[in-house]
Amino acid sequence: MKTNNRRRRLADRHYLVYYLMLLPTIVFFVVFNYIPMTGIYYAFTKFSFTGGLFGSQFVGLDNFKYLFKSGILFRITRNTILYNIAFILIGNFAQIVLAVLISRVMGKLFKRITQSMLLLPYFVSFVILRVLVYNLFNYEIGLVNSTFASMGIAPYDFYNKTALWPFIIIFFYLWKSVGYGSVIYLASITGIDPELYESASIDGAGVFKQILYITLPLLKATFITLFLFSLGSILKGQFELFYQLVGSNGNLFTVTDIIDTFVFRSLTTDFDIGRSSAAGVYQSVFGFILIMTVNTIIKRKNPEYALF
């Protein structure tokens, strides 16, 4: 009894220290994440800065109605989802191919150098993309048009034509992220038991067959994990990528505006707090429902892949 009490008092003291050590983290998430959740209310108001949270006029679902009727909601949802599907599918494909090639290519130095070069774009800021796009696609002096001119081809007005932008955006997404993803796949490939390859080789399987029947099947688990993870966040757009590539160029919005760029623009240039919040709340709530659905289905079918 006595030792029990002492142990409990000791445990209480531990908990006090534990909570003191957690204090900055708790304050951080309460201030920057949990309190702002109450701001969902802004989406139902005609917000005024002087009125603040409760002084603004309550307008019910008006903001959502506007977004829906104007077709904006459909456009930004469609763009966000379609781009994310392209990013997930093409991205994972490219990452798997590169990881397999890196793992099998001969020459240690070649392997190391190519891997370093592939990962380099991950390290630079998205502002560099803006520099690059300017350098390449500027109408008067861009590299592409000046090359066209020297070949006698008429200049192409990138910033007024939407047709090529989906490809440009997907290309630069791949440029920035393929190295990162292939590191993940490469780690799973390194974890494969080399004896599997040895016995396959004795049985007469060449490189292609070994990759097809050993490496790729064993990467399935990694792929499914990454796939489900990105499926859950399919409504979250690559804000920095889109914003730095396209900026606030209204001519291209039909094919380049995603939820995140719309929210940002409504807040910072149109100062339409209500509509901006409404789009943000839509993204957050819809995304949350999506994640919960995906997770519940996986849990029922194959619990080891569950996100949480």
Partner: protein
């Protein structure tokens, strides 16, 4: 049979080398294009446009920037201070959190871990977050606004917890506790020295994020002297305003600005430090990405 397999290997190696070499070149080509453009003659560029190889190799863009370096140095200082202060604070806070959340005798660890993770799947969106920082905390145009909101992330806390679980045996912590060591001193004297690579990895993730940040400046900062380096470059591309301003500030010598090439030279100044550090820090990022992907 054997010959056929030998040939297959050769074919595969050739394909692999070609594909990898092409992809690796595409990865670095943009950097080369920017550097080449920055070394070109501005008048030729304005007349004929950029090309892959520099037109009339000249350092004029760099000398122009270095002749009036004040605003660039200010932006550098903001970014460097922000990076150091933010990364260090974040590292201290998140390593403490990671230690506590990895302790099995702490019964609330699962619920707290979940509450941290929950913020990644649900949130109030951009607007309430913005209003919290600018109106509630009154951090508009303060350097704290570009530093504080980035010091922690759920991903990095989970990564830290994983590093500690993997590298600090429970039995060691237990035996220190029996010897009468307090939890904080166990953290400080036993745990931290055991996870140098974890600290380096997460510190570098933080540092990279701060160095590459332009978003916080664009959201909260209105005084050009408080712009982060990336946002300084961003502004220069958009309107060239900052550079014009800094030029009128030193009107004593009338210089004609090579307005096109100077943008690219500025990009080189902004990215240079990262490219120079890259070979030395790359392995930490690779280990961080790997562990984060498996456990995160």
């Amino acid at each position: 049979m054997k010959i056929k397999r030998g040939r297959e290997t050769v074919v595969f190696q050739i394909i692999a080398m070609v594909v990898l070499a092409v992809c690796a070149l595409i990865s670095v080509l943009p950097f080369l294009i920017i550097i080449s453009g920055s070394l070109s003659n501005n008048e030729l560029i304005s007349r004929e446009g950029y090309s892959i190889l520099p037109k009339q190799l000249t350092p004029q863009a760099y000398t122009t920037i270095l002749r009036i370096p004040e605003s660039l140095l200010t932006a550098y200082r903001v970014t460097i201070v922000n990076t150091l202060v933010g990364s260090l604070t974040g590292l201290i806070c998140m390593s403490m959190a990671g230690y506590v959340l990895s302790r099995k005798n702490f019964r609330h660890r699962n619920i707290i871990s979940f509450l941290i993770y929950f913020t990644t799947i649900f949130g109030g969106g951009l607007v309430p977050w913005y209003i919290m920082i600018s109106n509630t905390l009154h951090l508009k145009d303060s350097l704290l606004a570009i530093c504080l909101p980035l010091i922690m992330s759920p991903f990095m806390i989970i990564l830290m917890r994983t590093f500690i679980s993997n590298n600090v045996p429970d039995s060691l912590v237990e035996s220190c506790r029996i010897d009468g060591a307090g939890e904080f001193s166990i953290y400080l004297h036993i745990v931290l020295p055991l996870i140098p690579s974890g600290l380096a990895t997460i510190g570098l993730f933080l540092g990279l994020m701060y160095w590459n940040d332009w978003y916080m400046s664009s959201m909260f900062i209105s005084t050009p002297a408080k712009f982060e380096l990336q946002f300084y470059l961003y502004n220069m591309l958009s309107g060239f305003e900052a550079f014009k301003q800094m030029n009128t500030a030193s009107v004593t010598e009338s210089v004609s600005i090579p307005s096109e090439t100077v943008k690219l030279a500025m990009a080189v100044f902004v990215t240079g430090p990262i490219i120079l550090l890259y070979p030395f820090v790359q392995r930490f990022f690779i280990s961080g990405i790997t562990i984060g992907a498996v456990k995160g």
